[in-house]
């Protein structure tokens, strides 16, 4: 009886030597790109707009305004007349400061107008109204 010799199957395996290289590469990418959120803010529903531009992150101070008129800067509730002093302080820390509004879309414009007047008095004149991209 003839014995048929089975041919030896080639071993298949995924090379795992470079696995850690890949992992470290991804790890470094995420470590570098991660920004831990410094402030919590207050929940707002932002309006939508189409012609929006990117806001430079490193000079921006964010003012949150919700629809009840609560104003929050750096997680402190601020009343309208105090906005001026807070922003003056920010201007002293960073000359190129720009103000970024995260305002609820249902806020009445009167509050915004008052805050804008405060910003004018504080000489922080660069303002961005943050919005979501309209699709």
């Amino acid at each position: 009886m003839a014995i048929i010799k089975k041919s030896a199957k080639p071993e298949t395996s995924i090379p795992t030597a470079s696995m850690s290289d890949i992992a470290f590469l991804l790890l470094l990418f995420f470590m570098v790109s991660t920004v831990f959120v410094r402030e919590k803010g207050i929940p707002v529903r932002m309006p939508k707009a189409a012609s929006i531009e990117k806001i430079p992150r490193n000079h921006s101070a964010t003012i949150y305004v919700n629809k009840n008129g609560l104003i929050s800067i750096d997680d402190f509730a601020v009343s309208i007349p105090d906005v001026k002093y807070v922003m003056q302080k920010k201007l002293a820390e960073d000359f190129n400061v720009l103000t970024c509004f995260r305002t609820d879309k249902d806020t009445s414009y009167g509050i915004m107008s008052d805050i804008l007047n405060q910003l004018r008095e504080a000489q922080t004149l660069r303002v961005y109204f943050e919005a979501k991209l309209q699709r």
């Binding site: 795992t16 696995m19 850690s20 992992a23 470290f24 991804l26 790890l27 995420f30 470590m31 790109s33 991660t34 920004v35 831990f36 959120v37 309006p47 939508k48 707009a49 189409a50 012609s51 929006i52 531009e53 990117k54 806001i55 992150r57 921006s60 970024c100 509004f101 305002t103 609820d104 879309k105 249902d106 806020t107 009445s108 414009y109 009167g110 915004m112 107008s113 804008l116 910003l119 004018r120 008095e121 000489q123 004149l125 660069r126 303002v127 961005y128 109204f129 943050e130 919005a131 979501k132 991209l133």
Partner: protein, 138 residues
């Protein structure tokens, strides 16, 4: 003859290296939040301290837009005043700015009006290429 004891080669085990890396990777993956802010930019006018001269704008170089508390937009350009729907605002303003590049757009919003109406109109103004925009309220 004294037999030398074979020295044990010291080494850091690298088998679990990828485990460690992946653990850290997953941590950063789950905590990363790409916080890209986008919005409409505008530069406010400085508060006049009395030393600056007030520049009077010619009536021809001024277009007034009024948003009332219900979000109805009234456009006043030159002599005529008209209520304009949001959808046609961009086209109209684009034409106005094209005809007169010095045109100043004054956006006046009712204090009781909603913020989103003002942002929408400002969005349309910026999209239409208007560069001289002033914000005010009653």
């Amino acid at each position: 003859m004294i037999r030398r004891k074979r020295k044990d080669l010291g080494g850091i085990p690298t088998a679990s290296m990828s485990d460690v890396a992946f653990l850290l990777l997953v941590f950063f993956l789950s905590t990363t939040k790409f916080d890209i802010k986008k919005g409409l930019g505008i530069v406010l006018p400085a508060v006049s301290d009395g030393t600056q001269k007030k520049v009077k704008l010619k009536e021809d170089n001024l277009t007034k837009i009024w948003i009332d508390k219900d979000g109805i937009i009234t456009l006043k350009s030159g002599g005529n005043e008209q209520i304009i729907p949001m959808s046609e605002l961009q086209k109209t303003i684009h034409q106005i700015v094209k005809d007169n590049p010095d045109m100043v757009i004054s956006l006046k919003t009712d204090r009781k009006s909603k913020y989103q109406y003002m942002v929408k109109v400002l969005d349309k103004l910026q999209a239409s290429g208007a560069e001289k925009i002033s914000l005010s309220t009653n």
